[in-house]
């Protein structure tokens, strides 16, 4: 074999090898010339729009859509002109399916182009899906980050030793600490938790393990400014992206809730104290009238002798209402329950010591601690108040009665005294007139007697006028009026003290009548040899004291005179006391406020 033959033989073998290689590549190889005529098609022909046989010898323009043709021809021209490989992508409908191809065009001999076409549809689809997936992941991350940072909850990632890895914005806002390297690596318990609660927190952190329930702990935290927070924390186990065991601390700021709760507790404690200290009867009743488990207060116990253990569950009217009032009280109670309104009523009560007391009750609906409506009953003991009112009414009645009696006395005195004398005088004058002519001497006697009668009438009128109101008191004051009393008194009287200033008119009058009545009583009953009077102003009141050395035994209940004085003094908010032991004299002391 010649060298040429040998060389040719080698070339043929190379060509066959290349052909086999081309047939074996997974891509499609197309050769075409500059005007677009196909010269060879081999390799993977599954992406051809027609069969290889149909296309061979045909032109690109006959098989491909116009827009693709232009781009293919332009790319081929570029490859030929630049003598370099050019790449393009294009889409074709093959077998009813949109497919994407990549063509790499390399200039061959002459004007021929070798185009290696690869179907890149699956790769492209995969790439698109990956991009979509990546976007989703990015969205999810952004969403999670937003949630983590905006949720009003502290979220903190720690390692399995409880050291801080990072925390969310809420933690920054709440604690005032920034999420940066200054805190990373430090223990949560040493950084955020109140020193007194740090150990408990660290222990809770240690207890957290995979497969166990999260740890829950309420503890105090401290902000960077030193303010105290109350945090309701949950510590959970988590495995992170790198497969490392981590801890998540989630904390809810319950400072306000805790503060309100403590405020409620304080209020409840205060109410408890009030209920225990109040002088009123207090208890809670069920709508059917039985005393509820909230029970009764100490005053209830004191009055009725029943405490929670014996009162709860009993119908309250059994314990605190006199039998004859039970029916009325039940009706009022039931009306309050039915209308959901406050009702007020009074009833008598018999205490454990058998005393009868008058109670003013209020009965009001109350939403109880177990969220059911019950009735709160509050009873005020008004026995004393009523007694005072009765006393005041009686005192008023006595004052009016005394006034009426005084008027009757004045009328009687006028009628029996001055008026009779004036009547006689009138008759005497008429008689004198009748006798004047016949018996001038007799008439003169009659007129003379009439003059005496008139003088007596005038004296009686003067005395009477003084009794109505001492003119001396109005005109010249207490000292002068009292002096006029002492000069007429039937025994020696010493005035030991007397205010120099004038006092309010009603007070002066009351003091005057105390002295006047006291002296009159001494004159009538005391068998005394001596009396003293003292009137002093002291600390906004006047104190008048009249004392004698007589037989004593005077009693406020004894006569209307002293009783009238007490009424007069009490009408000015004053007090009058009588001290009168048998045999050692009597002292009357009255104290009257100067202003009311």
């Amino acid at each position: 074999m010649t060298a040429d033959e040998t060389s040719l033989d080698g070339l043929e073998r190379d060509a066959a090898r290349l052909r086999a290689l081309l047939d074996a590549i997974p891509d499609l190889m197309i050769r075409f010339d500059r005007d677009g005529t196909y010269t060879d098609i081999c390799g993977n022909t599954s992406g051809l729009v027609r069969t290889r046989e149909e296309m061979l010898g045909g032109n690109v323009r006959d098989f491909l859509p116009e827009n693709v043709v232009d781009r293919v021809m332009a790319c081929a021209a570029r490859a030929l002109d630049t003598k370099s490989t050019q790449t393009m992508e294009y889409a074709l409908d093959v077998g009813g399916e949109r497919r994407l191809f990549e063509a790499r065009m390399t200039p061959s001999t002459g004007d021929e182009i070798v185009s290696i076409v690869r179907d890149i549809t699956p790769a492209h689809r995969l790439e698109r899906e990956l991009a979509e997936r990546l976007r989703e992941v990015q969205h999810e991350q952004a969403f999670t980050r937003t949630v983590v940072n905006t949720a009003p909850i502290v979220l903190m990632l720690c390692d399995d030793q409880g050291a801080i890895i990072r925390f969310n914005d809420t933690t920054e806002r709440l604690t005032g600490y920034a999420d940066d390297e200054r805190l990373w690596g430090r223990k949560v318990s040493d950084t955020f938790v109140h020193p007194e609660d740090a150990t408990a927190f660290a222990q809770a952190m240690e207890r957290v393990e995979p497969g166990r329930l999260p740890e829950r702990i309420e503890c105090r935290w401290l902000t960077s400014a030193g303010d105290e927070l109350v945090m309701d924390c949950t510590i959970n186990h988590v495995v992170d992206g790198q497969g490392l065991h981590r801890r998540i601390v989630a904390g809810l700021d319950v400072t306000e809730r805790e503060r309100s709760r403590q405020e409620l507790v304080r209020q409840r404690d205060l109410l408890g104290v009030v209920a225990r200290a109040t002088p009123n009867l207090l208890f809670v009743a069920e709508p059917d009238g039985r005393i509820a488990w909230e029970g009764v207060n100490p005053m209830f116990e004191e009055v009725t002798g029943h405490d929670d253990s014996t009162a709860c569950g009993r119908e309250f009217w059994e314990l605190v209402v006199a039998p004859e009032h039970v029916e009325t009280v039940r009706a009022e109670f039931e009306a309050s329950v039915a209308a959901g309104e406050v009702r007020y009523f009074s009833s008598e009560l018999v205490t454990q010591h058998g005393e009868r007391r008058l109670i003013d009750w209020s009965c009001r609906p109350l939403v109880g601690l177990d969220h059911r409506t019950k009735q709160l009953l509050c009873g005020v003991d008004v026995t004393e108040r009523e007694r005072h009112l009765r006393e005041i009414r009686a005192s008023r009645a006595r004052l009016v009665e005394a006034q009426d009696a005084e008027r009757r006395r004045l009328e009687r005195n006028l009628h029996d005294g001055a008026q009779q004398r004036l009547v006689s005088l009138s008759l005497a004058l008429r008689l004198a007139q009748a006798k004047l002519a016949a018996d001038p001497e007799g008439a003169g006697d009659i007129l003379s007697a009439a003059g005496d009668e008139l003088a007596l009438a005038l004296a009686e009128l003067r005395e009477l006028a003084r009794g109505i109101h001492p003119a001396m008191l109005t005109d010249r004051g207490l000292a002068a009026a009292v002096e006029s009393l002492t000069t007429r008194a039937p025994l020696p009287v010493e005035v030991r003290a007397m205010p120099e200033e004038r006092l309010p008119a009603p007070v002066e009058a009351a003091v005057f009548y105390v002295v006047s009545e006291a002296l009159a009583n001494i004159g009538k009953y005391a068998q005394a040899s001596f009396a003293t009077i003292s009137v002093v102003t002291d600390n906004g009141r006047v104190v008048v004291e009249v004392a004698d050395d007589g037989v004593g035994g005077a009693d406020l209940a004894g006569g209307t005179g002293l009783r009238g004085l007490v009424d007069r003094v009490e009408a000015l908010d004053g007090r009058l006391e009588v001290e009168s032991p048998e045999g050692t004299g009597t002292t009357i002391v009255a104290a009257i406020p100067l202003t009311r």
């Binding site: 009779q420 009547v423 006689s424 009138s426 008759l427 008429r430 006798k435 009668e453």
Partner: protein, 138 residues
Amino acid sequence: MSPAKGAATRIRLDASLCDDEYVTSVLIVDDHPSFRASARALLEAEGFDVVGEASDGRGAVEAVEQLDPDVVLLDVQLPDLTGFEVCSRLTGNGKRISVVLVSSRDGSDYGPLVAESGASGFVPKAELSGARISALLR
């Protein structure tokens, strides 16, 4: 008070038979001695025969039984009975006696009591005179 001593029991003549000679007898009833004295002086000066005095209601009833006066001058306010009560006792059962009520108050103070009492009339004490009494008896 019992009837005044020394008052003679007299036989009364019918006033219509001997108008001029007849002297009207009077009993004065009042608890004030000064009034009784003044009234006696005044009436006697005007020709009345004051046959007795009484100072209270019961005394008045007794004195009328004993003295049988023509007229009783009767104070309304007496210590035991009121003048009206005494008057109705004296004039009850159609007894022939005239009662003149007197008082230091005004007649209007007593409202219809004077008219209902059976008395012949009312004279305020200050206006007492024989003429006022005679006018009421006619």
